[in-house]
Symmetry: C2
């Protein structure tokens, strides 16, 4: 893509009420636009990152047998009343509205109820199990405050997966696979080193739920890490009894601020019983289905990545989620300039090889401004094509996360970005 | 994908209040699930079709310079008040709710206002123009009645594109390109032959708006077609004056029922003036930006395809949007059966060649039921692998839209589905 064609140019103006680092950087660099507190538009650069994150997660969910589908945002009141999660006193993040005939409807902040209700149509016998389904859904949550940029929104994208199993054992087996798929996802997103499998408070059915917490100063949680064991304990369950249960000693743990990027949860048979989701087992006996749910905040993960990977000049995208792989900056007086032509040649060649490239082809913009924009946008490899670089034998390559640049030939460059 | 792993099996039960053909077929075949009137979930087969339709439209929009992005569903009241489209008396399809602090919000039924407001940040000079942006957005419309299945929903997916141009001439040029891109999209979706560029009622700025109307008995419009000229006139503007203006004679026109699958609209400078979206031209003069908007109902197009391409046994998907290219039906007593092994071998080979294949690998299901399911689901090529087909020299191939089958070798089969 040519930068001159991109409408969402970098900007210096960010409204003062935008207090979060991630949103400030993403707005300045032209990845997102703030519609209202907690609701952001994803501009061309932003949607590229979002789709890459989704694709990584999609691949990992498919690997463990997940089937993608998509539910509705509109929700039926009577369904959520069955599990006592309609009342605003019980769930305080509903956006509600009404149909023309007065029937109240809600906008989905979670989807366990409708998906489990739907499964009553498809799950009757043990032969219909297991079922593993997931969606990328725009969730609506009427948060009282929304000050964490894209890390906590009123409207945000979540990957939610649901598992339906015949028994606790079968559930446990999938639950462990899902855990591994989550760790693999965060690894590929560039968050692997700082993301920990975390023990958090459970529900009616289990003592613990499990979270994936990433070390992050902008996070809202406090966790106690055991770095060697790669596990953490959320402060909400941090007490002597739990520590001894988990075989952890206080002195081995490190207190850190973290952001929750995922969670996995066993419902056992509670929700199935409330909604009457049952199956007939091999002996002909009616049993409730065992349910698990598994979430990754997609937009939140993007926010956490920005919080963790930036410096005073801008964002530093991990390779796998960067909007482009290469950022060409041409420095030329006009389009007949040798540097412009060489840049164009390189741009075409990279496109042919399907290496994603953004070319800052602007003529009238000062080089300093272009370099500042490249740093702000944060594409991993910057390639400057100028009369000076060409005199010195080629293309000036600099990694966004390194300080030094080097002049390389085209062949060397192509090898570097493959 | 193996059919045994697909949770969304075919079903014979469709609730009686589902009166539309498209939804009945899609529900029976396991493509969609009805959450409430006008709001459908897209199951694994359904989301595959939806994504194919989106990808075709995406490619055509990219070809004419469109940049993909995505706005929010949440809408600010004050913005829509500027153009007098907040009041329920003026726009009667709003779903509205409120933030915790009482601030009213709406859920986007259209996006001209917020996108044009956003563009004030990015468009200042003639150098910033033109801008062409599009999104695939889940629109919310509080329809009084929703009885057309996925053809008219309370929650549905739309591709909406917006163009921002410096002058009427520049706008006109893009508008014509968009028209061609629309015709190309409908052609690729399998709707080309029966879709007509249609003159419909305009707005404050233009005499006509332009629709793309597809001949369809389930449609809600009446149009008058000129088949040779490939144009139509919506009955809302069908009168002597218009016909003479368009150089059409009544006797050459054919009255048909149609479904609107797309529309394109020139706003001129009206909306820009209401929202104060201006730019400075080359002479330093301030001018309002010329706006166009261009919509394709993605889920609606899927519904129209089903309405047009089905028979008494089920859906008949056009190749380009079919959930899979090949539907293998193995007829085998158990997994050690030669027919099962040969089917598995074929399945693996097609997957390796990245030819999308659904394999009905069920053992205990009767052949007749499997054939009925294959017809209902409507994948273009059905391949039966049975002891009989193998004795006769290979694989029994039948196109969904043909009556006769033939036995072919694997090489011949691979050539047919490439």
């Amino acid at each position: 893509m040519k930068y001159s064609k991109l409408f969402s140019k970098t900007t210096k103006t960010v409204s003062e009420d935008e207090v979060s680092n991630n949103a400030q950087l993403l707005i300045k660099a032209g990845f997102v636009y703030k519609e209202m507190a907690g609701a952001y538009c994803y501009l061309p650069l932003g949607i590229r990152v979002l789709e890459k994150i989704k694709q990584i997660v999609r691949e990992e969910m498919n690997k463990i047998g997940g089937e993608e589908f998509i539910m509705t945002s509109l929700q039926r009141k009577e369904l959520w009343e069955k599990t006592d999660r309609w009342d605003d006193g019980k769930v305080d993040v509903w956006f509600k509205s009404a149909l023309k005939n007065g029937t109240e409807v809600g906008f989905g902040w979670s989807h366990e109820e409708p998906i489990s209700e739907m499964m009553k149509l498809y799950i009757n016998s043990y032969r219909d199990l297991p079922v593993y389904v997931y969606q990328f859904q725009t969730k609506m949550r009427n948060e009282l405050r929304a000050k964490s940029g894209i890390m906590r929104g009123r409207e945000f994208v979540m990957k939610d997966m649901y598992s339906y199993s015949v028994s606790d054992e079968a559930h446990e087996e999938f639950y462990n696979k899902a855990k591994e798929a989550y760790l693999a996802s965060f690894e590929r997103l560039g968050l692997g080193d700082d993301t920990f499998f975390t023990f958090a408070s459970g529900g009616a059915f289990t003592q613990f739920s499990h979270e994936f917490q990433t070390i992050c100063d902008a996070g809202e949680d406090i966790c106690y890490l055991h770095r060697e064991k790669r596990i953490a304990v959320n402060e909400e369950v941090y007490n002597d009894e739990v520590l001894s249960q988990l075989g952890l000693k206080k002195e081995d743990l490190e207190q850190v601020k973290t952001a929750e990027v995922g969670n996995i949860f066993s419902f056992g048979s509670t929700k199935s019983e409330e909604l009457d989701l049952c199956f007939t087992d091999e002996a002909g006996e009616k049993k409730p289905v065992i349910l698990g749910s598994y979430g990754i905040g997609i937009t939140r993960a993007m926010g956490v990545i920005v919080e963790k990977f930036h410096d005073e000049n801008g964002i530093i995208w991990p390779e796998n989620v960067a909007p482009f792989v290469v950022h060409i900056v041409s420095i030329a007086k006009d389009e007949s300039d040798e540097a412009y032509k060489k840049a164009e040649e390189l741009y075409n060649e990279l496109n042919e090889k399907e290496i994603e490239v953004l070319w800052d082809d602007r003529i009238e913009t000062r080089p300093g401004e272009k370099f500042a924009d490249a740093d702000l946008i944060g594409i991993p490899t910057r390639v400057v094509v100028s009369s000076k670089s060409l005199e010195n034998g080629g293309y000036e390559v600099k990694k966004r996360n390194e300080n030094d640049s080097q002049i390389v030939s085209k062949d060397e460059l192509l090898k570097m970005v493959k």
